[in-house]
């Protein structure tokens, strides 16, 4: 995938998320940062160093967990950690790291015999064993069960709290929303948006929906004429109001003025998924653009 215009700055100690549809250029971007690819143009600076020219120094300070990389089937957990720690000048104590990642009980287990979650935790441990200032985590929780995903997320927050800057690549919106301090949405090789998760959601001007039931008669125009409202549907006693901006407070205010009590009031929670669709025109896990209309 070609990357055309991807510019961003990651601040020290933050978790910076990169999201985008499949084939948007996420992996190309982080591979360039990790020095696995030489960009045709543009510049990359990692801790003030060039990933290609200052390869040796960058590799000492950068930990990488790659998508689709693995380890020999027969290597044991403790052996892999000891081996990788011997590559670095100032590694962390790999035994402590093994403990932190809950792998001590598996220290003599071969890689092949580990569960998906354990493999992932080993991969994270190996990305951190060199005591990096920056860690790149590509598709951190793909293939994990929900509990293992949550455990991995808390682990990443712990790592961030030790001062490691984290570049997180994911196609899971919940993961990006939960972990990232800021997020870049990459689409078609460009940065489509860059903001905090809350900022992205607010900026995406996604259509909102408010649902409720009313027991009393109520004229449709009371709500339909509100400036934020774009549509009102009534099915029996069920109302569905769609709109933008401060939709909920407008609707609540109008109902109060009409002295109508709304029951079962529900606001469709907007999340990063909606923002993602708004910025890229695609659902997060589908490579095809959604049909308009």
């Amino acid at each position: 995938m070609a990357v055309d215009d991807v510019s961003f700055t990651v601040e020290e100690g933050e978790i910076f998320g990169i999201i985008g549809p499949n084939g948007a250029g996420k992996t190309t971007t982080v591979e360039s940062v990790a020095g696995l690819r030489t960009p045709d143009s543009g510049s990359i600076s990692v801790l003030g160093l060039d990933p290609i020219k200052d390869r040796a120094q960058v590799r000492e300070r950068l930990g990488v967990q790659l998508q689709e990389s693995s380890f020999p089937d027969a290597i044991k957990v403790a052996e892999a950690l000891e081996l990788y720690s011997s590559f670095y000048r100032n590694p962390v104590d790999w035994r402590e790291l093994m403990e932190l990642l809950g792998l001590t009980g598996k220290r003599n287990t071969r890689y092949k015999a580990l569960s998906g979650g354990q493999k992932q935790r080993l991969s994270i441990a190996l990305a951190l064993v060199g005591n990096p200032k920056v860690a790149i985590l590509d598709e951190l929780t793909t293939g994990l069960d929900p509990q293992a995903r949550r455990d991995t997320w808390s682990l990443i927050e712990q790592v961030r709290d030790t001062g490691v800057t984290i570049l997180l690549v994911t196609h899971f919106m919940d993961e990006a929303e939960r972990l990232s301090d800021r997020i870049a949405v990459i689409d078609g090789g460009r940065v489509a948006a860059l903001d905090t998760p809350a900022g992205l959601i607010a900026r995406s001007s996604v259509v909102q929906q408010v649902r409720f039931r009313v027991g009393q008669p109520l004229d449709k125009s009371v709500l339909a004429e509100l400036p934020d409202v774009t549509g009102v549907e009534i099915t029996g006693d069920r109302w569905l109001v769609t709109g933008r901006g401060q939709l909920l407070s407008s609707v609540a205010g109008a109902l109060a003025r009409a002295q109508v009590v709304a029951e079962d009031l529900r606001v469709e929670q907007r999340n990063l998924d909606d923002a993602f669709v708004a910025f890229t025109g695609r659902a997060p896990e589908s490579p095809e653009p959604l049909q308009e209309g």
Partner: protein, 254 residues
């Protein structure tokens, strides 16, 4: 401990855990020699061969079996797997270069063929009364140069294949072809001259190994127009250098 020492240590353990390779590459050649040595007819000295027994003449073929197996099947298979599964790629994001793991792999594979050869020569001497190599220096040179040529060919295969299963298929083909010229299927004594002459120059250079082991056996397997020992070594060394060069040129890390 340095990264390379550690890699050699780990690769040694991984090799020993690969029981198929340990059995077929290291233990099978001595066992094969013992098995054939158990056949009385192969232990009978014949006046036509100057008092040598068939097993004396055939022993170097068993030796070559382990060398070929490790160099063209095992090493390329591991290297292709390491590339296919992103192990080389993952290493290239660390301060250690992935060439370290290839180097460690070759050290371990070489140590294993030396171990296999030593075991075989010992078993041949202790059980079958086959004299150890008569010219140790020439034998060691022929062994190292022959193994290097095999490994060069194996590494070309490792360089060009895309998947580990392709590496295994090519490895099997190479194994069968090299072992044919090595006399595993038809004793070289019975081969037509042209095949024997080709066999003299094909890695690992069985004729040179046979001559260095036993000059008498070498005279029997050599062809009338056979090349002198050091010329055979030079040709094999040339193959080793050229093959390694091609492999290095074609090698893909990803």
């Amino acid at each position: 401990m340095s990264a390379l020492t550690n890699m050699v240590k780990i690769e040694t353990r991984l090799f020993l855990r690969d029981s198929a390779t340990v059995i077929f590459g290291v233990l099978f050649p001595p066992a094969l020699l013992l098995g054939l040595g158990a056949i009385p007819a192969l232990r009978e000295a014949s006046p036509e061969t100057g008092g040598l027994r068939p097993i004396d003449i055939w022993a170097p073929t068993a030796l070559v079996f382990g060398m070929v197996m490790i160099a063209v099947q095992h090493v390329p298979g591991v290297v292709a797997t390491y590339r296919e599964r992103g192990i080389l790629r993952r290493l290239s994001t660390t301060p250690a270069h992935p060439r370290g793991v290839l180097f460690a792999q070759m050290i371990v594979a070489f140590a294993s063929v030396i171990g296999s050869a030593a075991l075989m020569i010992f078993v041949a001497w202790a059980v079958l009364d086959i004299a150890p190599p008569a010219q140790p220096l020439e034998f060691v040179v022929a062994f190292i140069v022959g193994y290097a040529a095999l490994l060069g060919i194996g590494m070309i295969s490792a360089a060009v294949v895309r998947t580990s299963s392709a590496a295994n298929q090519i490895g099997t083909l190479l194994f069968v072809a090299l072992m044919f010229f090595g006399g595993a299927f038809l004793p070289r004594v019975l081969m037509p001259d042209v095949l024997r002459e080709i066999g003299e120059l094909i890695p690992p250079g069985l004729q040179a190994l046979t001559t260095a082991w036993s000059a008498e056996a070498g005279e029997i397997t050599a062809t009338a127009g056979g090349q002198p020992f050091w010329l055979q070594i030079a040709v094999t060394a040339g193959i080793a250098v050229i093959a390694s060069g091609i492999a290095a040129k074609l090698f893909r890390w990803e």
